[in-house]
Amino acid sequence: MSSSAPSDVALIRAEIRRRKRRDLWFGALGVLALALALLTVVTLFINMLIDGWARLTPEFFTSFPSRRAGQAGILSAWVGSLLVMLVTASVAVPLGVAAGIWLEEYAPKHWLTDIIEININNLAGVPSIIYGLLALGLFVYTFGLGQSIRTAGLTLALLILPMIIVATREAIRGIPQSIREGAYALGATRWQMVRHHILPYSMPGIFTGVIIGMARAIGETAPIITIGALTFIAFLPPAPLVGTPPFVNFEWLSAPFTVMPIQIFNWTSRPEAAFQQNAAAASVILVAMTLMMNGLAIWLRYRLRKNLKW
C-alpha cells in the first residue's frame, strides 16, 4: 500500500491537470464564439458607417424623403418611429406588467392558468407578420382605426406583450418568498404587498424586458407594412402639445406615417447608388437608437438594483 501512494497522487494530479485543460478549452471556445458574434456585428456596423458617413449631417434628420438622394432625409421616418414607440410603450407596459403580476401573485394554479401560461410562451415565438395580419383584420377593418400611428402602436404592443409578461414573471420569481411572508405578517393586504414590495423589487427586471421588447419593436418592418404604412410622406403628424388649452392634441394618433425600417427598405431597393448611402446612414441611426435603448436598460437596471436592500 505504502509503495503505491506516490503514484496514486501523481495519477490524481495528472487527472486534475487534464480536467483543467478541458476547462480552459471550453473557456477559449466560448470566447471565440463571442468574438465571432461581436466581430460580425462590428464589421457590419463599421461597413454601414463608412458607406453612410457622408450623409450623417444635421440636414439628414430634418429633411423629408425626396427623389433626389442628396436632399432626402429621415424626418418623417424617425418622428414616425418615435410616436409609434410611444403608443406601443403606453399600451404594452401597463397591460404586460399587470398580466405578469396577476399570473404570479393572484392567479390560482390550475389547468386554465397553465393553458394561459403555455399560450403566452407560444405567442412570444409567433412570427411578426402574423401580428400584422391580425392587426389588419382587427384594428384596421373591424375597429376602423385606419392605417395610422395608433394602429401601428397597438400592433407592436401586441407583438411585445408576451415578452413583457415573461420578463415581469421572471423578475417576480426572483423575489424571495420570505419578503411576501414578512409583509403579510405585518398585516399587509395582497395589493399592499405587491405595491410596496413586489413591484419595486422586480422593477429592474421588468425594465430590462420592456426595453428589449421596444428595441425589437423599433426594428420591425413586416407587421407595419402589412397594416399599410406609407413609403413617401413629406409632412409630420399634428404636434401632440399645443399652445392653447387643453394643451394636448391627440390628432397625431390617427395620422398617416412611415417608420425607419420602411424608409431604409425603400432606399435599398432604389436603382441609384446614392440612395444606398442614405440607407446605410439611416441604418446606422436605427442601430444607434437600438443600442441607446439597450444602454438605457442596463443603466436603469444598475440604478434600481443599487437601491435594493434585502
Partner: protein, 329 residues
C-alpha cells in the same frame, strides 16, 4: 375577463374618436414601378402648394393597390399594367368608377453580364429559356440556340407578385404568370443587378431605370421584334417610336371618380398631367408625347370613365394605338 374586455373596447373607441378632423390628404398606393414618378410629382406638388395639400404614396404592388382602390381607401392607384376584369368587378361592387390615365412608358430590359458576347435575342429564344417546360431542362445557353456560347444559364427575375413578372410572362410565354420556377426571384431589383454582375452566364429582366443606373455593370440585349424581324435596343427613342416590341409597356394611374370631385385631388391630378413628362424622364422612364397628356385631361373633362383594355392582359400596345382607344367601364 368581461370587465377587462369592456375597458379595452372603451379605450379603443376613445382612441378612435379623437382626431377625426382630417387635413386635406391625397392618397396614392400601388405599384413599385410607378412609385418613382408619383413620388416625384408628390414632392414637387407639395413644394408648389406650400404643403397646404398633403400627398402620401405607398407601395403595395399593382394588385394590392387596386384592392385598396376598389374599397375606396385611396384616391389614386399606381399600376404597372391595365386593370384586370376581376379588379373591375371588385371596383363595381365597391361603387368605385374610375378614370384610366396612362402617364409614361417603361421598357422591360433583358440584361446579361458584359462578358457575354451575345448582342441580341429573339422572343422565341427568350420563350425557350423562360417557359414552364424549360424547368430543370434548359440549363445551358447552347440548349437555347446552338449559336450561343457554351455556358451555364443562370436566370434572375422579379417575384410572382410583381406587375413586371405578369407583363414579361404574358409577352414572352403567351400567358401571364406562366414561367419556369427554378430561377432566382427577388422583389428587389438591385439583387437581380448584382446577380447578373457576378455571373458571366446570367440573364435577368427588369424595368429600364435599373439598367440605366447600372450601364457600366450590365449589358442590355436588343430584342428582335417578331413582327418586323428587326433587333431593337431599349432606349427612350425606340420606345417612343414604338419600335421596342413587345417589351414596351404603358404604366398608369387610376383615379376614382368620387375622389376627383374633391378640389385637392383635382388640383393634384392636373399638376400630375402637366408635369409627368418632365418628371418621368428625370426618374428614367419614357414620357408620352404631349398629345397624350392633353388627351388625358380631355377625358377627365368629358368624364370618360373606364379602361381602354376591357380587363384583358395585353402586350405590345403602341403609344398611338393607346391614344386612339376608347375607354369602357
Amino acid at each position: 375577463m368581461k370587465q377587462v374586455r369592456k375597458t379595452t373596447m372603451a379605450a379603443l373607441l376613445a382612441l378612435s374618436a379623437v382626431g377625426s378632423a382630417q387635413a386635406q390628404i391625397v392618397k396614392l398606393d400601388g405599384s413599385s414601378t410607378v412609385y418613382p414618378i408619383s413620388e416625384a410629382v408628390a414632392e414637387e406638388f407639395q413644394k408648389a402648394r406650400k404643403n397646404v395639400v398633403k400627398v402620401t404614396v405607398g407601395i403595395s404592388g399593382t394588385g394590392g393597390g387596386f384592392k385598396k382602390f376598389c374599397r375606396g381607401e385611396i384616391d389614386l392607384a399606381n399600376a404597372s399594367r391595365p386593370i384586370l376584369k376581376k379588379e373591375m368587378e371588385a371596383c363595381a361592387q365597391g361603387g368605385i368608377r374610375f378614370f384610366e390615365l396612362p402617364i409614361a412608358y417603361d421598357a422591360l430590359t433583358v440584361v446579361v453580364n458584359p462578358k457575354n458576347p451575345l448582342k441580341q435575342v429573339t422572343v422565341a429564344d427568350l420563350k425557350t429559356m423562360w417557359e414552364a417546360a424549360a424547368q430543370n431542362r434548359i440549363t445551358n445557353w447552347k440548349q437555347v440556340n446552338p449559336a450561343f456560347p457554351d455556358a451555364a444559364l443562370k436566370l434572375f427575375g422579379p417575384g410572382a407578385d410583381s406587375g413586371t413578372f405578369d407583363y414579361f410572362t404574358e409577352a414572352i410565354n403567351g400567358k401571364a404568370k406562366a414561367s419556369r420556377g427554378d430561377f432566382t426571384a427577388s422583389e428587389d431589383d438591385n439583387v437581380l443587378v448584382q446577380g447578373v454582375q457576378r455571373d458571366p452566364g446570367a440573364l435577368a429582366y427588369f424595368g429600364f431605370a435599373y439598367y440605366s443606373e447600372n450601364r457600366d455593370k450590365l449589358k442590355a440585349l436588343a430584342i428582335v421584334d417578331p413582327k418586323t424581324g428587326r433587333a431593337v435596343e431599349p432606349s427612350l427613342k425606340t420606345v417612343l417610336e414604338g419600335l421596342y416590341q413587345p417589351l414596351s409597356r404603358p404604366i398608369f394611374i387610376y383615379l376614382s371618380e368620387l375622389s376627383f370631385k374633391k378640389p385637392e385631388v383635382r388640383e393634384f391630378v392636373e399638376f400630375y398631367l402637366k408635369n409627368a413628362a418632365k418628371l418621368a424622364q428625370e426618374v428614367k422612364y419614357v414620357p408620352l408625347p404631349a398629345r397624350a397628356y392633353e388627351l388625358n385631361a380631355e377625358h377627365l373633362k368629358q368624364g370618360k370613365l373606364g379602361s381602354m383594355f376591357g380587363g384583358e392582359a395585353e402586350v405590345g400596345v403602341r403609344i398611338e394605338d393607346l391614344l386612339a382607344r376608347e375607354a369602357r367601364l
